[in-house]
Amino acid sequence: MIKSEIRPVRRYSRSSGLAVMFSLPGLLLLISVVLAPLITGFYYSVTNSSLISSEPTRFVGLENYRNEVFTQTFSDALRVSLLITFFSIVTQLGTGYVIAKVLARSMRGTSFFVSVIMLPMLLTPVAIGMMWSLMLNPDIGVVKWLQSFVGLDVNFLATPSTALGAIIFLEWWGHLPFVVLVLMAGILNLPKEIIESASIDGANWWQLNLRVIIPMLAPVIAVIVIIRSVNAFRMFDTIFVLTGGGPGSATVNLPFLAYKAAFTYFDTSRASAIAVAIVVIVMPVYFIFSKMTKV
């Protein structure tokens, strides 16, 4: 009885001074690094400010959006972003599920394999990208050598579709651990009785997986898809060192497009227009996320 009387009092009053103190460092960081640039970014996007021109800044309305956002270049970059996101997640879920199922059986040595599978997520992405660019070297790379065993000779980074494939492969490689570990935890948390009774009732392997286990994992898979989409969509390091957006602009995704506008051409206002457009594009994910992370 006493409990329920005390709880609201302690929880919501008397503590607001302390609450302000507790949230202040975080809030200051968020205001200076998130809120301030978002507002100035929006302001830049409707002006002609640039880091290299000395023209006086003036309001230009939607001109930057016309020049940068409603263009073929932008929709190509959006397409690249979506392709990377879609294919890396689909392949991760497919391979990740099979690996997680095997790991969840806790055979001898599982713990060792978990350590190995964890590695890619922790290793420096830019260093991995660099080493892959050595391995994919068309003259002396390891990949060329491996191809010679199966009679192939493809220079992966030279054609648009294979270059994109290489990027997707590295995105798959780098974030497979996350998918495997989360799926494995999901599988281990499933009620054993349901799976057992389904197999006693004569469900075969396919039925067991497709009709029983995967539907029960749906919430976990949803979380994976959302978190992975956010990360795959913002991919940057690997593209920067492996393809530089090439060949042509075949692997330029939205973050790379914004980067090039801002730091190759030093056109702050145009880059800001791209940035604002990216915020608009990720908005639906924002709403899903804020539903997921209720405090």
């Binding site: 919501y12 809030l27 200076s32 922790l122 420096t124 830019v126 804020s290 405090v295």
Partner: protein
């Protein structure tokens, strides 16, 4: 059971092949770091039968640019970790246990950074940073990285705070303890594993970061991740030096995988599949 034996064999074959796909690039990096320049550029590549040399490691160990970059990497990683722990721990507690004006704004901003590619913030931030004379400074990278890592750290800690039964705090209140006493004597020790998890993820994240320093640094505050790109943009690629520098970047991560696996797996799950 015959079928279980077959599936066991299949399981091991699968785990071993995926391990090869994962370990090969790491092995290639570490071995190239130990090759002579001639050996690393032969075709077909010498995977095992090369002469081991320490010339790349020795070159890096005596190179001033590399030293400077290592110093920056260390300082950024350590101070970012301190700042993230300092900001995220009380923030997570206040978000899960208190109600106050401005809470909605914090949740909004935290969620927004989590879904928005960092480049969106970095484009205008670059203009602001140069305007305020903060370009090419370690402190700038620390502040920006801390804010970018804050959401992830906060959600992990919120999950940890929520797993502490509120009754524990209530009992202490009833006994006459003040809020701060409760936090220091009850919450802090119970939250220690959560803080450890956040610290490890932040250390690794800041150590591995490339986008923020490549934009925000030029000469004084260039970390190893940015330095290594010069090995490849120059006309001839120095395979051995590049691989040696990459191996150096991998080193702390390999150590963490051995000694802190529990925290990494736990943190990953707390950050994604919490209730």
């Amino acid at each position: 059971m015959k079928s279980s034996l077959i599936s066991k064999v299949f399981g091991y074959i699968l785990l071993i092949s995926i391990s090869i796909v994962i370990i090969f690039p790491v092995f290639y990096t570490l071995s190239t770091a130990l090759k002579t320049n001639a050996d690393s550029q032969t075709f077909p590549p010498k995977l095992f039968n090369f002469d081991v040399t320490s010339e790349n490691l020795r070159y890096l160990a005596t190179n001033e640019d590399f030293y400077a970059a290592v110093r920056v990497s260390f300082l950024v990683a350590i101070f970012t970790t301190l700042l993230v722990v300092f900001a995220a721990t009380p923030l997570a507690y206040s978000l899960s246990r208190m109600n106050y004006p401005g809470k909605k704004l914090i949740v909004l901003l935290v969620t927004l950074i989590q879904v928005t590619p960092a480049i969106v913030l970095l484009v205008p931030l670059f203009a602001l940073v140069t305007k305020f004379g903060l370009y090419d400074k370690i402190i700038t990278q620390v502040l920006i990285l801390s804010a970018l890592i804050l959401p992830f750290a906060t959600w992990i800690l919120v999950a940890f705070v929520k797993s502490i039964p509120y009754e524990l705090e209530e009992a202490a209140f009833v006994d006459g303890a003040s809020r701060l006493q409760v936090i220091w004597h009850i919450i802090r020790p119970l939250l220690a594993p959560g803080i450890m998890t956040v610290a490890i993820f932040t250390l690794i994240g800041a150590w591995n970061e490339f986008l923020v320093p490549v934009i925000m640094s030029e000469s004084n505050a260039k970390p190893v991740t940015v330095l290594i790109t010069i090995f490849i943009t120059e006309k001839n690629i120095d395979y051995g030096l590049l691989a040696a520098a990459c191996s150096f970047l991998f080193l702390p991560v390999l150590l963490f995988t051995i000694f802190a696996k529990r925290f990494i797996v736990g943190g990953l799950l707390a950050g994604s599949v919490k209730g």
